[in-house]
Subunit: 232 residues, 2 copies
DNA sequence: CAGTGGTCTAGACCACAGC
DNA sequence: CTGTGGTCTAGACCACTGC
């Protein structure tokens, strides 16, 4: 079983880049040259170069050539899901409270709505082995005629809850991560004292027009959560 | 100025997915069908489909067809750099201490080295407008014949410091993010009390064989840091 | 002007799914 | 067997770059 030619070309160039044979800014041989070197058609060469470009190794300038890109050390991919990002996955979730509220100024600003709109607030606590490890608040725009039933709030994922009726692709999510010393309410709910901090993860859901349609804030016990990221 | 055909095809299918006309799991028309529909060659259709696959919209099964993928809400991209991720960028960095140490058991484990190897430890404090906002520890494997000079430690990025001599592409980074109540030492250095938590970001640098070659731990004042992530 | 990358074609052969 | 996606070719035309 032999690898397709365009993958061989990808590997060949990656090796030169990894070994330092090609350094950031260096020019790659032209597509014409590579097609002769590898004895393949230009389309096959292009397929490989496009893959290298997608993976951040090179970039191309029309009329000039292709060049090795400087790697970006600041981009990381993290996998975040409020139920499974804790050290030992949350095994139970308990609905603490659901109500319809009138937003205060800060929330109205976050959701970009006027303060006379109604908002659904669901409070939830996540457990691991009986230990409360996270306190979760979810704010959703309230729409007449689209009642939220408890089973949905318990079982659906946040995007599913908010995106009822629209395509799941029509949603963007933004995360904001920070640390806090726990407020009194949170100390009580999670059974911690001031020696334990909380990691706060805010999720904002946006529709295709970048209008907020939901806001989630999760307070994790610092001794039960670790977010992991990798680059590339 | 008219868009290339393969981009028109990409847009067309994205629209059907966004509108809910195509739902996750649904089959896309075959490449042959699409090439007739759009009046273009099959290679042009494939270029569009490959782009859609790269962007997570569809996946292809050889011998069967292409299908709409279920979106992944758990993947986020964050941009992290210890100097510029704070709310107002750190404007000054001060070297607090540099020394060569013998690792304790935990550090030796983290770096996967034996405890008789030497490690360089650089302690640093970041400031914003004169306020200390972060305390930073960097551990690097010590190699004879590769002296670390102070100017490098002050000015180089962490990967550059550690990767001297090797290609910058030959490095992977892993992040671990958590919250902590500040230890006494950190309270003093950052001038905070127990009402302020710290966000801890650990960076591990790995070479191509996945061996650790450097470890960085940064303690940020919780009131000065916010990490942001977006999906897709 | 010659060389470069970007787009596109009209075929071809293959391995694979499913009937 | 037919239909599917995966690979590949040998051309073509275009817009752009730099001389």
């Amino acid at each position: 079983m032999t690898k397709p030619v365009y993958l061989q070309l990808v590997e060949s160039i990656k090796n030169k880049v990894h070994s330092g044979d090609l350094k950031p800014g260096d020019a790659i041989d032209s597509e014409h040259t590579l097609s002769k070197e590898f004895g393949v058609s230009r389309m096959t060469v292009r397929k490989g170069l496009i893959m290298l470009a997608n993976q951040g190794y090179i970039y191309s300038v029309p009329g000039k050539g292709s060049y090795v890109r400087k790697p970006d050390y600041t981009r990381f991919v993290i996998s975040y899901d409020e139920m499974s990002c804790v050290i030992n996955e949350a095994d139970k979730s308990e609905l603490h409270d659901v109500k319809i509220i009138v937003p205060d100024e800060k929330l109205a600003g976050s959701l970009q709505i006027s303060r006379n709109k109604k908002v659904i607030l669901a409070k939830r606590i996540y457990y691991n082995n009986g230990v409360p490890i996270a306190y979760d608040l979810k704010y959703m725009l309230y729409h007449e005629g689209l009642p939220v039933v408890e089973s949905e709030i318990m079982n659906a994922t946040f995007p599913d809850m908010v995106a009822k009726g629209t395509s799941p692709f029509a949603i963007k999510k933004e995360l904001v991560i920070c640390a806090q010393a726990p407020a009194e309410e949170i100390k009580l709910l999670l059974g911690i004292n001031e020696d334990t901090a909380v990691l706060v993860v805010q999720q904002k859901l946006l529709n295709t027009e970048n209008k907020p349609i939901g806001l989630g804030i999760t307070y994790f016990r610092s001794d039960y959560i670790r977010l992991r990221g990798i680059n590339r």
